[in-house]
Subunit: 418 residues, 2 copies
């Protein structure tokens, strides 16, 4: 992948709450994404707690890491556990000084709102010597300084403050420092029914052939994603290059394995096909208990092709709502080929839909038998041309089995609509 | 809060997708939380990309950091961008060897499923010399090794695989290695219908009164969590202390605001109450399209009280399946008090359930009007005592509105079952 001119830096996030698992590090994700959109990248990230020595050590380590820029978030607030400013002064051997101009602005701001002045507020104007204050709409901590030509940006950990300073100061300053004409493009291809290892071996040679493109494997719970990352000198060049690679990837994986790209998940793709055919879909769910319908109706505009669904958890419900015969349930059990078939047929005829999907299975944790262990799931798709029934054996806990079942039903419909 | 004897380690997460902002680092959050629940803590976290040298450098840096244990996730898969195993071998100067026993297990597993063997699959059995394979239910990468007495656990980045190995191997091994007489107890209280700021002000004084306990606020999408973290010298002492604090928190928040603790989500709590009453529940969903039924049936054993559900997306479905009258739909629109009420009544009488929940609303993004903007949702609960209907106006994108609606329906049922 072209990395010319792409300046790479490091992110240091600070806070006991991150190490204790109180909250996921949403700031890190946001900063990574914004940097990438701006044409910059991260060499790595470091997280430490609210401990002055640990923070100072992280600053020293990163100082010698060859990064072109450093972003620090967290630990700048007014409370006792905010140690970042002190740690920076210590790590870089600088005294702390009060920024008189910003303190005055703070005093005016507090006065203007009829609030009481507090020495804690004044701490927001306390900076290592030589640092420049980063200011936002409201009072907030934040400053930047240069160390051996490398810019260090210190941002608060409060998400909306961090986001404001990142957008208003950091990204623009990085763009001034590292001007670049390089355009970055990411494309995700969603692959159905091909194992990650098989994808890897099919694309291995292509990967070697295109060192200017980064192909990455992002396994998801029920499908696999192939990421194509292109860097080019213009939007058009990037689009063309991504399209070329996409074509090659699709050919190597086999036509009919890639269901969509980027945000086009299976429910969106299936919905588009139903809409183009002018078909209506109905579902009948037992062990997934509404999950399949929920995925279908998560798509805006699903009412164009989705009319109704039957959640037939009990045998009584399967008989009442879908017309499954009691003898079939008795002879084969609710989790069986004939019942899945009868559910799909019944849902279709009782709704006048064009296609019906039915799921019956054992999601567990109990209810399994030696012949039909937990994870045994039958999926049926009925159209005017007949019914296809598949048997699956899914692994994992209840929720995984339910999710795999709903996904497999969508994949069956997707292939049926080809 | 007591921290004596608490073993502290470091987490290294690996993957370009983390540095590029493709995905937030949910693994780091999960691991931090699980370690804390187990009585361990993190000194820090490091993230690097899929670059062998960068990974090896991170391993070397961490080797000399004085951590008592190291957990590594990511980069263990079968594809070319998975560099962690090679980097570990390089950093520690060890050859890579094939674990014959695990390779045989893999071959048997693949054979048993009628799949084709691939050399890439075999890579899961490739370990640095002296490392022990960590095995899960399904084939997965993962191993552990000791360096100067410090255990290093290498886990896959695929979340459900990582979680399985963390729970089955890492936490138990850490507990064996670092037995501690300090018992840590975490309790989460799930609070319904009270804003975070209000919770904070109601608990402020309690927080100051109990410095030995950490009370934290963990806002969730549709409810708020209050975390109570206790460290004590015995399980009994910890349980007693947590119970005392829980009692105080419940009293301060108001009885009837805390729906459950720890894993007792609203669907579990509601399910328990239905089971105790011997009641059956039926649902009729329009704008949530199966999400409510999906939440109810995510609980194992839901068949004890959940019999069936109607997903009536179209007006025709509301008439056919629930007996909602056409004139009511015409006069008031599908999103209205009378239709929500008729849906709940119809679902109840057409199923002979004891309680029926119905939802009709505008999830958007289109379909809103000045009188009924996107986010307008009516929720009804019918029992033998009558029907309660609530009107809500939810904010956010489609999915958030659907989730808020399903949650509000469960909350209404929860209050009804009091």
């Amino acid at each position: 992948m072209k990395e010319l001119e792409q300046a790479a830096g490091r992110l240091i996030t600070i806070g006991d709450e991150l190490l204790l698992g109180d909250i996921p590090d949403g700031n890190a994700h946001h900063i990574a994404l914004e940097l990438r959109s701006g044409g910059f990248r991260l060499n790595g990230m470091v997280t430490v707690g609210d401990d002055e020595e640990a923070i100072a050590k992280a600053f020293q380590d990163v100082s010698s890491s060859g990064d072109r820029f450093v972003i620090v978030t967290g630990g700048l607030g007014p409370t006792a556990d905010d140690r970042t400013t002190d740690a920076a002064a210590k790590a870089f051997g600088l005294p702390l000084v009060q920024n008189a101009e910003y303190e005055q602005w703070l005093r005016d701001w507090v006065d203007g709102r009829g609030c009481a002045w507090s020495e804690r507020t004044a701490r927001m104007a306390r900076l290592p010597e030589g640092a420049a204050k980063l200011t936002g709409e409201e009072p907030m901590a934040g400053f930047m300084m240069e160390r051996q030509g490398v810019p260090w940006y210190f941002l608060p950990g409060v998400p909306h403050e961090m986001r404001e300073l990142l957008a208003s100061h950091v990204i623009p300053d990085l763009k001034r420092r590292f001007p670049s004409s390089v355009v970055y493009l990411k494309r995700i291809l969603r692959v159905q029914g091909v194992a990650e290892s098989l994808i890897g071996s099919r694309l291995e040679e292509l990967e070697r052939k295109v060192p200017d493109v980064r192909i990455s494997y992002l396994p998801q719970p029920n499908e696999n994603w192939v990421g194509i990352f292109v860097a080019a000198n213009s939007r058009e060049e990037a689009e063309n290059r991504a399209a070329e690679i996409e074509k090659e990837v699709v050919a190597l994986l086999g036509y009919g394995c890639v269901s969509g790209r980027d945000d086009e998940n299976l429910e969106t793709t299936v919905g588009g096909r139903l809409r183009r055919k002018g078909w209506k879909l109905v579902v009948a769910e037992s062990c997934t208990g509404g999950l399949l319908a929920r995925r279908i109706t998560s798509v805006a505009g699903a009412s164009d092709y989705f009319d109704r669904g039957f959640i037939t958890y009990s045998n009584g419900a399967k008989m009442d709502l879908l017309g499954v015969e009691g003898e079939v349930l008795l002879a084969h059990g609710a989790v069986s080929f004939p019942v899945a078939e009868a559910m799909a047929r019944g849902a279709r005829t009782r709704s006048r839909a064009d296609a019906a999907l039915a799921i019956t299975g054992i999601a567990g944790p109990s209810g399994g038998t030696p012949e039909k262990p937990v994870g045994t799931v039958f999926i049926a798709c009925a159209t005017s041309e007949g019914v296809t029934v598949e048997k699956h054996l899914f692994a994992g806990p209840r929720e995984r089995i339910q999710e795999s079942s709903a996904h497999a039903a969508l994949a069956l419909l997707w292939r049926t609509l080809h």
